[in-house]
Amino acid sequence: MVEAHIEVKGLRKEYGNLIAVDGIDFEVRKGQVFSLLGPNGAGKTTTVEILECLRTATAGDVTILGLDLSQSSKIKRRIGVLPQGFNAFDLLTVKENVEYFAGMFEEAVDTDELLSWVKLENRKKDLFKNLSGGMKQRVGIAMSLVNDPEIVFLDEPTTGLDPGARRDVWRMVRNLRERGKTIVLTTHYMEEAETLSDYICIMNKGKIIVRGTPREIIKDHGGSPVAIVRGAGDRGLQALSPNFPDCELAGVDLKIPIPNGRRVSEILNTLDNADVHYDEIVIKKSTLEDVFLKLTGQEFKGGEEDEE
């Protein structure tokens, strides 16, 4: 078994009466991309910032790279952090900003190389404040790597970015994983967690409610696939409901959960035989998002809001 880079046991964090993290346990192995998922206020940032030695836990045992949290200055030299809602010095250039943080460590990597890696080699002389959100986030990622860390913490690295910029960040995460870094990611985006993670913990109200690889989680908690027949209307419902009692109408679209062992062709045939007209059929596999909504039992806004 691969060595554990992070071990967390019985971690708790209270802010006055509020219990932000309510006794969680998990382990992150070397080289893994580990994701914390959860709605706003679930306790993700609190959890990772305790691991980053930025906040103190109320209770619990944490070991990072074999070190106890009390050895924070040793830990800080071996981890890299992109805080949530990251910002740097507005009046310094990209290069100056990265060099500042490189200068804080006794040993640092070549900043020019780093900036090429995050594709900012042409923006080195631009002031940080004049960059777009996506570029700022890439500066932040570069900064989190100046000390060539063994573990990289990325707290919501893609919140507020457009789909293209988000995929740029994904590429970087994958590339870091290939280079053997351990990555702790927090995100609101299910798709992101699903494509990037080796292991996922879904948090809600300070607790980890589900854990596993993306596949395991979907398999265990996702429902059956759903066929959506657009524009089939009332006639479609009448035709299908004898064979598919769970079928329901949403506007003029039919939603038909496909139970284990049944086939999509059955639906098609039934509709054809009844001569029902429809626009298209879509088969939706269960995604992490469905699991998430089901488990956290709330209207999840998909992280569209840019908080902080």
Partner: protein, 367 residues
């Protein structure tokens, strides 16, 4: 060894050099203040000279003499109540000139007897010298005796002697320096801390081995450098443009340096305390203003404390800026080392108190 303090210091300087508002408040503001007050109080330059006159004679002749002075277009005549003691008025208002027309002046002239004008002037003041020649010219022109060969009017010229009295600008210059140190340092600390905290820059810094004392050291160091740059600017203007008498005694210079260092430390700590007390940017800015603005007027920067009502003097005694300004005046102008030592001790003591307060109030680590 790579010093984190130096890395942060370099960033501080770069940030400063790109922030026009910071440059204005720390460098341009004291320069403007010095030029403005210098121009007002040295009375030189273009435009009119203010002449202070006590007309004891109040005759037809004296009135037309003053009218003629005004008519030259160079002189503003300011009448001083004849019941006042001339020397007292001069001392209280730091006047550089004073003309007395003695009683019976007009009568003497009418009787074809000689008459004497009394003019007291500060010999170091350009405007007083200019006024002297203007008065002389006007008097000559009006002298009835000149038609009969010998002049009747003469001017009794007395130099104003300032034994323990200093020019207003002597008094003002160290005050401007103290004021600049306070304004620049308090505002710098408040806005930097609030900005860094609210934008999560401290949080990012905390993920590195940088320690808070290292950060603080670099920022204080920069404020001290700015303090010395202000000193040079203010001195340059004061000494070369307006003839301020600054002591060049070594002890005085060392004391001035010590006071600038202690003052910077004091106001850095005060800025930290304010930023720690108030979390949002506007609130902190408002509090910084609410603290520095009254200090500016109550610490005896623009006028001597002795001129203020009793209760304001009491307030001035609890204002930190008073001690920095007084100390700098002692060390730079008066050469009063005992006073300077006392003020240095007060400023240093306050610096320690505020530093403790500031450290408690501004934690990097959020709970």
């Amino acid at each position: 060894m790579k010093s984190r303090v130096l890395v942060d210091f370099k960033a501080t300087v770069l940030e400063f050099s790109r922030s026009p508002s910071a440059i204005f408040w720390t460098l341009a503001f004291p320069v403007i203040l010095m030029l403005l007050f210098g121009a007002i109080y040295s009375g030189g330059g273009s435009g009119n000279f203010n002449l202070y006159v006590q007309d004891m004679d109040d005759s037809e002749w004296s009135r037309s003499f003053l009218e003629n002075l005004t008519a030259t277009g160079f002189v503003n005549v300011n009448m001083i109540n004849t019941s006042l003691d001339a020397q007292q008025v001069i001392t209280d208002n730091s006047l550089t000139n004073f003309l007395i027309i003695p009683a019976g002046f007009g009568a003497n002239l009418s009787a074809n007897e000689s008459a004497v004008l009394e003019f007291r002037k500060d010999d170091s003041s350009q405007s007083a010298l200019a006024l002297y020649s203007i008065i002389e010219a006007v008097a000559q022109q009006m002298d009835p005796g000149l038609q009969n060969v010998s002049a009747l009017i003469s001017i009794d010229e007395k130099s104003l002697v300032f034994d323990d009295r200093f020019k207003f600008l002597d008094f003002f210059l160290p005050g401007v320096l103290a004021l600049t140190i306070m304004n620049s340092t308090v505002n710098y600390m408040v806005f930097t801390i609030v900005e860094y905290r609210n934008r999560g820059i401290f949080r990012k810094m905390m993920t590195t081995p940088l320690k808070r004392p290292e950060w603080l050291a670099s920022r204080i160091l920069w404020q001290m450098v700015l303090g010395f740059i202000s000193l040079l600017l203010i001195l340059g203007i004061g000494v070369y443009l307006f003839d301020v008498n600054v002591t060049d005694d070594l002890n005085g210079v060392l004391m001035t340096i010590a006071l600038i260092l202690a003052g910077t430390a004091l106001f850095t700590a005060m800025g930290m305390a304010v930023a720690g007390l108030i979390k949002d940017e506007q609130g902190a800015g408002a509090l910084a203003g609410a603290i520095t603005f009254p200090m500016m007027f109550l610490a005896g920067i623009f006028f001597p404390l002795e001129m203020m009502p009793e209760y304001l003097q009491t307030i001035a005694k609890v204002i930190p800026l008073t001690y920095l300004a007084d100390g700098l005046r002692d060390s730079m102008i008066y050469g009063n080392m005992t006073g300077a030592w006392f003020n240095l001790m007060v400023v240093s003591g306050l610096a320690v108190v505020f530093a403790a307060l500031g450290t408690v109030l501004t934690r990097w680590k959020q709970e």
